[in-house]
């Protein structure tokens, strides 16, 4: 489904502090599978996630999404593609303070201009399925860590993406909440979605929902099981 060929990614290219986060990645990600990018800090796993999720372009190499080369697409098309295909859950959640849970969830769908009532119903359905209906109008800064993460998950799902991307999803959660999160992932995987995670949490790497672990070190793949 997603194919990376010879992908290299540099930051501050041409400057004294030039840094290559990815150093030649060849990767094929199959659909309807949960994959973890595992490795220590600085191994390039977050960068790999941004390239796979079309948040950033590779400096060298090609990215293909469903047999379509997307490396050179202009930003407008890339954004549209990203919106339709991927849902993101950020490590810091990155919810917009001051907005309610339901407003945060609906945000990614705003640029699509769809029917408001339908969008609201979809958001309420997601809240309900994540057991957050009682907090739908609460401002996100008043929610607990676990609740905020569920809002982040719901937001990632509002456009019904094929691929869910999560960066260190359990980094800010305790064990109980981490287990709860993995339970939600299992449900989503059961719905036929592809899931891509980065993590160095053994709880995630060794969970039953994860089918493939890709290990990175210094911007290169050193393990794939």
């Amino acid at each position: 489904m997603i194919e990376l060929s010879g992908v290299r990614k540099a930051f501050n290219q041409g400057r004294p502090n030039e840094f290559w986060a990815l150093n030649g990645i060849d990767l094929n990600i199959a659909p309807q599978q949960a994959t973890v990018f595992f490795g220590p800090s600085g191994s390039g796993k977050t960068t790999l996630l941004t390239v796979v999720g079309c948040l950033a372009r590779p400096t060298v190499g090609r990215v293909r999404l469903k047999d379509r080369d997307i490396s050179g697409l202009p930003e407008r098309f890339l954004t549209g593609l990203r919106r339709r295909t991927f849902g993101f859950i950020f490590q810091q959640f990155n919810l917009i303070r001051g907005l309610s849970a339901i407003e945060n969830i609906m945000l990614p769908a705003y640029p699509l201009g769809g029917d408001w009532r339908e969008l609201k119903e979809r958001a309420e359905f997601l809240l309900d399925s994540l057991r957050l209906s009682h907090r739908r109008t609460a401002r996100v800064e008043w929610l607990s860590g676990g609740e905020q993460q569920r809002v982040a998950i719901a937001r990632a799902l509002i456009n019904d993406p094929e691929v869910l991307i999560a960066d260190e999803p359990t980094a800010n959660l305790d064990t109980a909440l981490s287990m709860e999160f993995l339970g939600i992932l299992e449900t989503l995987a059961g719905q036929g979605r592809s899931i891509l995670l980065t993590s160095h949490d053994p709880l995630v790497v060794e969970s039953a929902v994860v089918r493939r672990v890709v290990t990175l070190r210094d911007g290169q793949i050193v393990g794939d099981r």
Binding site: F88, L107, G113
Partner: protein, 383 residues
């Protein structure tokens, strides 16, 4: 089209919630902005209306007024001047005017005293006066009341109020006291046959400049004032480029410019973070810019509509009450007038352009840079 409309509504949804999150600051900004529009629009409407009033009311002013100058100052018109002017070709009618000023030491007010042309419907009998509404109000006069004026000779002269001039004419007659020619001459000590100035009616208004030249030749010590010059005086009244008006407006405009520049100089870290998140969750650069444009538009449109409406009510329903202290200055008498609304589309459009667009632009400019943020910076946590 429906999708486009729905999308704009979503952008407005987000904009409003964004504004609501900094409620105090944004309400303050809106109030200040509305006040500026209110001030500018009030001055604009008031000035337009006064100019129109002057043009309409003074359209019937004498075609030509001839004054006599001695050492650069006004002097009385000698008896033979009227005859000299009447003989000029192009002059249909000559009329000596009798008018002057009276200072009331008790009210500390200046009245304009006039002897209306004889035989007209405004004439008053000897011993009687007609007074303007403001004079009547200040002294407490009604019909048949008595008023005492002190002549230059020191003598106190009593007059009976025959009538009050109309309320509708206050803008012209608020301080007017009309008396008969006989009373005027005896009160002010005007010698018989002398006048304050001469009003001419001409046969052909197109020839009035030539006539002015002829008058100057025939009476070298005269000063000629044409009606068009009278009207031009009032066309430039309260010109926004001058005097106190400019000071009033510039203070307000500078305050607002500082505010807008502060906004244009950059975004807060919160705002930058928000834009980064929006980009990361699927908003395009264009969506972010449009959203900010709506923010600028909503605020500036609201300020303009509210400011203008308030200005209209202020000028035409509350007689520009806020300007009264400025206009009144040290005057004791001030007319109670109702202006007729005059709407100049060009000036309204100028007001709209200069109040709405700068702010809308000031809102978008700082956004441009932030809107092209790499969305992956959100992932890397570098927001």
């Amino acid at each position: 089209m429906r999708i486009w409309i729905e999308k704009q509504k979503y952008l407005i949804d987000f904009t409003i919630s964004s504004l609501a999150r900094r409620k105090v600051k944004n309400v303050g900004l809106l109030c200040l902005y509305t006040l500026i529009v209110f001030l500018l629009a009030s001055v604009m409407l008031f000035t337009q209306a006064l100019r129109r009033e002057a043009a309409a009311s003074l359209a019937g002013a004498p075609d030509v007024i001839v004054q006599r100058m001695v050492a650069g100052r006004h002097d009385l018109i000698p008896p033979d001047y009227i005859g000299k002017l009447g003989g000029l070709r192009g002059v249909r009618k000559t009329e000596g005017r009798l008018w002057g000023y009276y200072y009331d030491p008790f009210l500390r007010a200046n009245y304009t005293v006039m002897a209306p042309p004889s035989g007209g419907e405004d004439g008053v009998s000897t011993g009687q006066v007609a007074v303007g509404q403001e004079v009547a109000r200040r002294i407490g006069l009604t019909r048949n009341a008595k008023i005492a004026l002190t002549a230059y000779s020191g003598e106190t002269v009593w007059f009976t109020v025959a009538k009050l001039l109309t309320r509708e004419s206050e803008l012209l007659t608020a301080d007017l006291v009309l008396m008969s020619e006989e009373d005027f001459r005896s009160f002010f000590g005007y010698p018989a046959g002398q006048y304050t100035d001469i009003a001419l009616t001409v046969t052909n208004p197109q020839e009035v400049h030539n006539l002015a030249g002829k008058i100057a030749n025939r009476l070298p010590d005269s000063r000629v004032i044409l009606r068009e010059e009278i009207l031009r005086t009032y066309e430039s009244i309260f010109n926004w480029r001058e005097g106190v008006v400019l000071m009033l407006l510039s203070g307000a405009v500078i305050a607002f410019a500082i505010f807008a520049l502060e906004k244009a100089s950059g975004l807060s870290s919160d705002e930058k973070r928000e834009i980064g998140i929006l980009k990361a969750i699927g908003w395009e650069t264009g969506d972010v810019i449009k959203m900010k444009f709506w923010e600028g538009c909503l605020i500036s449109l609201t300020a303009f509509l509210l400011g203008y409406t308030a200005a209209y009510l202020h000028v035409f329903r509350f007689a520009a009450a806020l300007f009264e202290p400025v206009l009144k200055g040290w005057s004791t008498l001030y007319p109670d007038f109702e202006l007729v609304p005059t709407l100049d589309g060009f000036e309204l459009a100028t007001l709209f352009f200069f109040t709405v667009f700068p702010y809308a632009l000031a809102t978008i400019v700082p956004i441009w840079r932030a809107a092209v943020t790499d969305p992956d910076s959100v992932m890397r946590g570098s927001l």
